[in-house]
């Protein structure tokens, strides 16, 4: 202590204060503190890692889906690249090269069976793409079949696996492939030197084919005849390239095919017409615009959909009136959650007040009455409200019996907003009562008595002395009930009809029925953001320190 005082008094005289081992005290202290922190961190590490892995990571992953859009460029890599240079503002269809790229992409996707998945994805944005891709996957084989048949007629070897391997593969690969036996790992395909220059398109297509056979099918190339795509590419290459200089294996076979192609008897390659034959929708510029618009790896499309807008070539635009729904549902969810919260406050306050002012024995007994419904299944409670509220239900029957309501004009209390509000208020009531009770039971009764003895009326004593002290309980209960209610979906689904459903019902629909998880994630993200904003606003207005769950 004296040393420290001395150091602060004359630091320049003595230099930094040293610890016993000669290091500066400041550093030594910092090290000790760091070690302590690390130890503390190590102690909570298992829990922290558990929470991160099982709670935070899935949520982040789910929310991330609201912008993720790799599927388009993954499935159609060549097409999306080619579409970059396509000017969609002219209203003209893309050029032949883009159709050619789409042919390659969709053919490969169809072999891997990913084309229908992409179709489903793009169908969210443009109606009809789903069946368009499904049909195209089946139909694109027709393009290459012409050439496959022609080559086969010329030489049976074009229809077999082994001659192709000899032509396209390097000598090493041919040897490995021949030595391969069932059960071994399949050798990796290696292209013959010079083949990439001699037959560039064929080489790429054949490499794709080889990779697919090795990884997906796990079959030897020697036994598998190549896809019709490879034959189409061979036709294109033979048209453009001069193969007379080639002298490797299968040179005769290749030259004969070249002669056939140069003879000009084969029909010219016309990918565009085939696409048109498969479905005339391919001649619709909007289809290509949709693909181009959703080419990037990340998209704001889901978020636009979630606020009733859509992507158009000219930027975001509002949806048609008859397709707008989410804005309305967000507003309704907020409004009804507020109504539910306030009705919970109104009902819970007297109950909590009573509970906290009764002798402990009676209070505990009454508390069981509060908790008993809380422990009952949610579905049972909701269905019970159906029995109570429906037009032929208990309440209406009683009202008709005592003559308050005419039998022909029974009250409609369910399948509308009223039904949702009643049922959810009941279901969420314990979440309001419990924090209120725990706050109220700590308010000393002497305060109210003191107020009264100083001349306050009952009301003044309650309003000026008791109520302000119970506000933290109201705050805690309100936050709980409000946040729980905006995420509720089972109860609104059962008793809400059409006017009493929440945004969460649409989220549930997109998660489990339409499988549009991107849109569901976007809606969920917006909901989360709204909650955070409200929480922030609450903190600003009321102050989060005023929230107490007890004590």
């Amino acid at each position: 202590m004296t040393d420290t005082a001395a150091t602060t008094a004359t630091p320049e005289d003595t230099g930094p204060m040293l610890a016993a081992d000669g290091t500066p005290l400041k550093r030594s202290l910092a090290r000790a503190l760091r070690a302590q922190k690390m130890r503390a961190l190590a102690l909570i590490a298992p829990l922290l890692i558990f929470v991160l892995l099982t709670f935070i990571a899935p949520i982040v992953d789910m929310l991330f889906r609201s912008v993720e859009n790799q599927i388009v460029s993954d499935t159609l890599p060549r097409t999306t690249l080619a579409l970059k240079d396509w000017d969609d503002s002219t209203g003209d269809l893309p050029g032949d090269d883009i159709f050619f790229a789409a042919y390659q992409d969709i053919f490969l996707a169809a072999e891997a069976k990913t084309h229908t998945r992409l179709g489903t994805r793009l169908n969210y944005e443009f109606t009809g793409v789903s069946s368009l891709f499904r049909k195209s996957g089946r139909g694109l084989d027709d393009i290459g079949e012409v050439y496959q048949d022609a080559f086969k007629d010329l030489d049976k070897d074009w229809d077999k696996g082994a001659p192709w391997v000899e032509l396209m593969g390097s000598d090493d690969f041919v040897a490995e492939a021949q030595a391969w036996e069932k059960g071994d790992a399949l050798p990796e395909f290696e292209l013959r030197d010079g083949m990439a220059d001699l037959l560039p398109l064929t080489a790429v297509a054949y490499e794709d084919f080889a990779r697919f056979q090795r990884v997906e099918e796990e079959k030897s190339l020697l036994k598998e005849e190549p896809w019709t795509l490879v034959h189409t590419m061979l036709f294109r290459d033979l048209q453009a390239q001069d193969v007379s200089g080639y002298s490797g294996p299968r040179a005769e076979m290749l030259k004969a095919a070249d002669a056939l192609v140069d003879g000009g008897e084969l029909p010219p390659l016309d990918v565009r017409t085939t696409f048109e034959k498969i479905d005339k929708d391919w001649m619709d510029v909007d289809v290509w615009e949709t693909i181009k618009m959703y080419s990037p790896n990340y998209t704001n499309g889901y978020f636009l959909n979630a606020v009733d807008m859509q992507k158009t070539p000219d930027g975001p635009a509002w949806r048609d009136d008859d397709e707008r729904i989410y804005g309305l549902l967000f507003k309704r969810t907020m409004f009804m959650s507020l109504v539910i919260t306030f009705s919970c406050i109104a009902l819970a306050y007297p109950v909590a007040f009573l509970l906290s002012n009764l002798p402990a024995r009676t209070a505990n007994l009454l508390m069981i009455l509060v908790l008993l419904p809380f422990w009952t299944s949610l579905l049972v409670r909701t269905s019970a409200w159906k029995v109570m509220l429906q037009q032929q239900g208990v309440i209406n029957d009683v009202l008709v019996w005592i003559g308050l309501v005419d039998d022909a004009n029974r009250l409609v209390m369910i399948n509308n907003q009223l039904g949702t509000i009643i049922a959810m208020t009941h279901i969420l009531l314990p979440f309001m009562i419990l924090p209120m009770y725990s706050v109220m039971s700590t308010i000393p009764q002497t305060y109210v008595r003191a107020a009264k003895s100083l001349g306050a009326t009952n009301w003044t004593a309650f309003w000026r002395v008791y109520f302000p002290q119970s506000v933290p309980g109201i705050g805690a209960g309100s936050i709980l009930v409000f946040i729980l209610s905006i995420g509720y979906y089972i109860t609104p689904e059962i008793v809400g009809g059409t006017t009493g459903t929440f945004i969460s019902n649409r989220i549930a629909y997109h998660i489990s029925s339409s499988l549009n998880w991107g849109l569901a994630a976007a809606l969920g993200t917006i909901l989360l953001a709204v909650v955070l904003i409200l929480y922030w606003a609450y903190d600003k207005i009321v102050g989060i320190d005023n929230v107490k769950l007890g004590g």
Partner: protein
């Protein structure tokens, strides 16, 4: 210590049992997880398929899961997590299309995987029109149709004999229940708006076609209670909340014949749907072999006919129809209650699955937006 030992012992036992099992059945797993809809329907599957199968294959255990109504989402989640825990999943036709498109269901070679009909017809011919895509193994034909109360005083003795009675609030006053989905409702609305059955999807495809159907539904909108679970309409009918409503014919059968409520069934333009199995894609070989073995057994002519003893859904095989007998408990003839019964098929609709898979998202948002206004 004890825990470790127990764990070790269990692991060893499982391992040994696994080897023994593998030897005794060739390369087949000893257990299966089958997913279905729960309730009376799943019970009928257990009685008709699973119990006889387990009798013939002692040592096989079948675990049942009741998650079919969220099967598509759960299968996708399982596949993304790389851990498929289900071996066989019962889904409706349109869901199977989605699963097939997403690559989550295995494609089937019908004639190889399924038994041929006992009249010698090939599996593909025997199943006929119920084969709707490459992944779907049909089991039953069900229909969505209308039930109505038989004791409504305001109707003055009139009984509905046409599906258009739902739009006729003059003759048949009272509330109706319809499904909270556009599918089927749009078709019925257009039919009653004067569109011929064969033109339904052409009209829906036109600009304004969906709007026309919604406009027709608009005429009864304030009289409709919308349902989302199959059990809703039976309850609403039984409680007198609605005077008529759509639901699955099996549900109506149980209200009418088992619970003896004053309700009758309307067989007019009922919508046929298929329900069946899909096998998740990329199952390990031993589990796949077991499932294929089970499916071959469970979808043969006799088994499909047996199921009709427990529930009033029609077998998907043509060759099973003549074998449909009596209800196991009630002892009544089941054939007249089958959607496949010719007398019940004077007028019927089949959903165009392709049209719906294209237009589902678009129409759904229009429908929901109409609904909330």
């Amino acid at each position: 210590m004890t825990l470790t030992k127990t764990l070790l012992a269990t692991t060893c036992l499982t391992f040994v049992a696994g080897i023994a099992g593998a030897e005794s059945h060739g390369n087949m797993a000893d257990s299966m997880t089958i997913v279905s809809w729960g309730g009376a329907y799943q019970q009928s599957q257990i009685k008709a398929y699973a119990e006889p199968y387990m009798e013939a294959n002692p040592g096989v255990t079948i675990t049942w899961d009741e998650s079919s109504n969220e099967a598509v989402a759960k299968l996708r989640a399982q596949s993304e997590a790389g851990n498929i825990t289900w071996d066989l999943v019962d889904v409706e036709g349109p869901d199977s299309q989605r699963l097939c498109d997403e690559g989550l269901a295995m494609e089937i070679d019908f004639n190889e995987v399924l038994a041929e009909g006992d009249d010698g017809s090939s599996a593909e011919d025997d199943f006929g029109p119920s084969v709707i895509n490459e992944c779907f193994i049909p089991q039953i034909v069900f229909s969505t149709t209308f039930g109505y109360r038989t004791d409504v005083a305001e109707w003055n003795g009139a009984t509905p004999d046409s599906v258009c009675a739902i739009f006729d609030t003059e003759t048949f006053p009272g509330k109706r229940s319809l499904e909270k989905r556009p599918k089927k409702n749009l078709e019925w609305a257009l039919l009653c708006d004067g569109v011929a059955k064969d033109d339904l999807y052409d009209v829906l495809d036109e600009d304004g076609g969906v709007e026309r159907a919604l406009a027709k539904l608009d005429t009864i909108k304030d009289q409709v209670v919308w349902w989302s679970a199959g059990a809703d309409t039976p309850q609403l009918l039984a409680d007198g909340e609605v005077v008529m409503g759509s639901t699955y014919n099996g549900r109506l059968f149980s209200v009418i014949e088992e619970q003896k409520q004053p309700v009758a069934m309307l067989w007019d333009y009922e919508v046929f749907d298929f329900d069946g199995w899909i096998i998740p894609a990329d199952l390990p070989e031993d589990r796949l072999n077991r499932v294929l073995d089970f499916v071959k057994f469970a979808t043969d002519t006799q088994r499909l006919a047996d199921q009709a003893k427990y529930i009033s859904y029609g077998p998907a095989r043509a060759s099973s129809q003549p074998l449909v007998g009596q209800h196991a408990d009630l002892g009544i003839d089941m054939a007249p209650h089958m959607p496949t019964n010719p007398a019940n098929q004077k007028n019927f609709l089949v959903n165009n699955i392709e049209w719906w898979s294209d237009n589902q998202d678009d129409v759904e948002s229009k429908f929901q937006s109409w609904l909330v206004k």
